[in-house]
């Protein structure tokens, strides 16, 4: 049987994906495609990738059994601690992979986009490590909202450029990074999620696949289960979800739940629930589901978490959600805030606001007593302290 993860020649997962790119980018995308498919099976490349993940990033990340959440929800709940990676989130798995590829391609300059700044920090980090020149585009609004991450990037030697066009957030930073790549074709564009033209979605998913690879091994060691019954992950573009689902996509017995940002509610007009509200279309080089108005203009989404307010979703997610393989749930801002507070008070772990959406999804699922549930704890919440403190949570939840 054909794997869900397999694309066709043009990079489509069924209906979604492809490379909708201007001719100006074609040679660069082609060069990248050739390099990725050459090195993804190369022993030396994989050995170097694994070595850095272990000694530099700190992998494997623990699979932690949460006794309290398990008791509360009546299932066996595990947290995959991606928040314990170097730089505090799963993002670095991908930046390590791509920087090694860039190095093998002889590149010396890197450009990337960032929303909340997590991918920007992870990119600045690997650029410092590999002595690469680093330019990060970040929406002017996000630069204001995420000042500490801007400082971290700069401190490691990256140049942070403010994206002043359009709505001045992640989608505009992505446009600017793509324009930079067009104008500087020798640059390596280090994309942060499973979005963009083929081969990016497949490549980023491949580098994040280590998450589910470890989940499988660790679960077997801890519980004798060969696989979880349910995996839950939040989705903006969808890189942590792609990594957490990767090795389970083709096993229909594993329920996969993608959690989107419902913002103020999916009917409020202030939401980032692309799977529910999006229609098929082209954004940033990929045919996928996206938030758009009646005339195909891209709509700015809303979420309390800067990492989830992307108007599109990776084409792999669009394909698997449309086919019913993956279930999509929307979690509102206030539910995410409550879930963050709950985890902080009950387990002493402050999750990123993005991750808090995945945690809140527990309240929307019905479990059987012995269900093994894995939640991908994609990032830590230090960057969100201001938001967490400014927003009152509902005491009655506890």
């Amino acid at each position: 049987m054909k794997s869900i993860l397999e694309t066709d020649e043009l990079g489509f997962y069924g209906e979604f994906g492809g490379a909708y790119i201007p001719e100006l980018l074609y040679p660069s995308v082609q060069e990248l495609k050739e390099a990725f498919f050459k090195y993804k099976g190369d022993e030396d490349f994989i050995a170097e990738f694994k070595h850095l993940l272990k000694d530099y990033v700190g992998r494997p990340t623990p699979l932690y059994f949460s006794k309290k959440l398990s008791e509360k929800h009546g299932a066996q709940i595990f947290l995959k601690r991606e928040d314990l990676n170097h730089t505090g989130a799963h993002k670095i798995n991908n930046t390590i992979g791509q920087i090694l590829l860039a190095k093998r391609m002889g590149k010396t300059q890197i450009v990337a986009e960032t929303g909340a700044g997590q991918h920007g920090v992870a990119t600045a980090t690997v650029c410092a490590l590999m002595d690469m020149e680093c330019t990060i585009y970040m929406g002017a609004k996000d630069i204001d909202r995420q000042a500490p991450n801007v400082e971290r990037m700069k401190y490691m030697g990256a140049k942070v450029v403010s994206a002043e066009s359009g709505s001045k957030t992640l989608k505009d930073a992505t446009n600017e990074a793509i324009r930079h790549w067009i104008n500087n074709p020798d640059t390596f564009y280090l994309i942060g999620s499973v979005v963009g033209p083929h081969p990016y979605p497949a490549m980023v998913a491949y580098f994040q696949a280590v998450i589910s690879e470890e989940i499988k091994k660790q679960l077997l060691q801890k519980t004798n289960h060969e696989k979880p019954d349910i995996v839950i992950a939040c989705v903006g573009g969808g890189s942590n979800a792609a990594g957490a689902f990767y090795h389970f996509y083709d096993d229909e017995n594993v329920r996969l739940i993608a959690v989107e940002a419902g913002g103020l509610g999916i009917k409020s007009g202030k939401s980032a629930a692309t799977a529910v509200l999006g229609k098929p279309g082209v954004i940033h080089g990929s045919y996928t589901l996206l938030m758009q108005d009646a005339y195909g203009q891209i709509v700015e989404p809303h979420s309390i978490s800067a990492g989830l307010d992307y108007p599109g979703i990776g084409p792999l997610h669009a394909a698997t959600i449309s086919s019913g393989r993956v279930e999509a749930i929307a979690i509102n801002d206030n539910e995410a805030l409550n879930a963050a507070q709950l985890l902080a008070k009950s387990e002493g772990i402050i999750p990123a606001l993005e991750t808090a959406h995945a945690l809140a999804a527990l309240n929307h699922c019905e479990f059987k007593k012995n269900d093994v549930v894995v939640i991908n704890l994609s990032g830590r919440g230090d960057k969100d302290m201001q938001t967490l403190l400014n927003n009152k949570y509902d005491e009655s939840t506890f």
Binding site: E23, P27, G166, I178, V282
Partner: protein
Amino acid sequence: MKALFKNQSKPLLSIFTTAGYPKIDDLDRQLALFDSKNVNFIELGIPFSDPMADGPTIQETSTIALQNGMNLDILFGQLNERKSTLPIVLMGYLNPILLFGLERFLELSKKANVSGFIIPDLEIDLYQERYKSIFEAFEIPVCFLVTPRTTDARIQKAAELSKNGFVYLVSTNSITGGEVAGNNKLSARYEEIKSLCGATPVMIGFGISDRHSFNGAAKNLNGGIIGSAYLKALKKGEETEFLNQF
């Protein structure tokens, strides 16, 4: 469109303007101006919120046009009522076209006597695999882009697909609104490209800002397209003066 290239005695001038800019109903006025000047055909931009291959000038006009309320229904209404007979090529990103409905878009384009399309994010292989048969049913040519970096084989493919329109040669590897790199190496490459395109006309664009750069870039080709420089003049209300130089 074909007749235009067949009968040309000098490089053709095409002007790019954004539909709905600076005012939503400014198209007729600009078309009348083009009619009175040495403009051979129009490239009319369909505004899009996220124009990936365009620089700040065209993006700004798109944003304003969208704020003015421009959309495809209004645009086709304006095209149907236009008095000018100058050929019009529609330039737009794929997303608004797909959401509008590709066949509906093509049908209305046919009705409005549109001469061709430029769709920068419609990549050649994808076009052939997924969209070509739909476009061909309506017999309006898609004009594909090539750059100096495009391989010879791909240039020939673009020329074959664009044979009823023209190949759009992007002067340099950069987004719109930059400068033409007018060095000899590129001029030699332009000539190679022209010869690779065979009978398909070649129009050059991106970075042409005045008569001087037009003459330099378009010589030995079928003509040139001016966008950002015209829009900058339009913004200042100096479009007539700008066109007077040609």
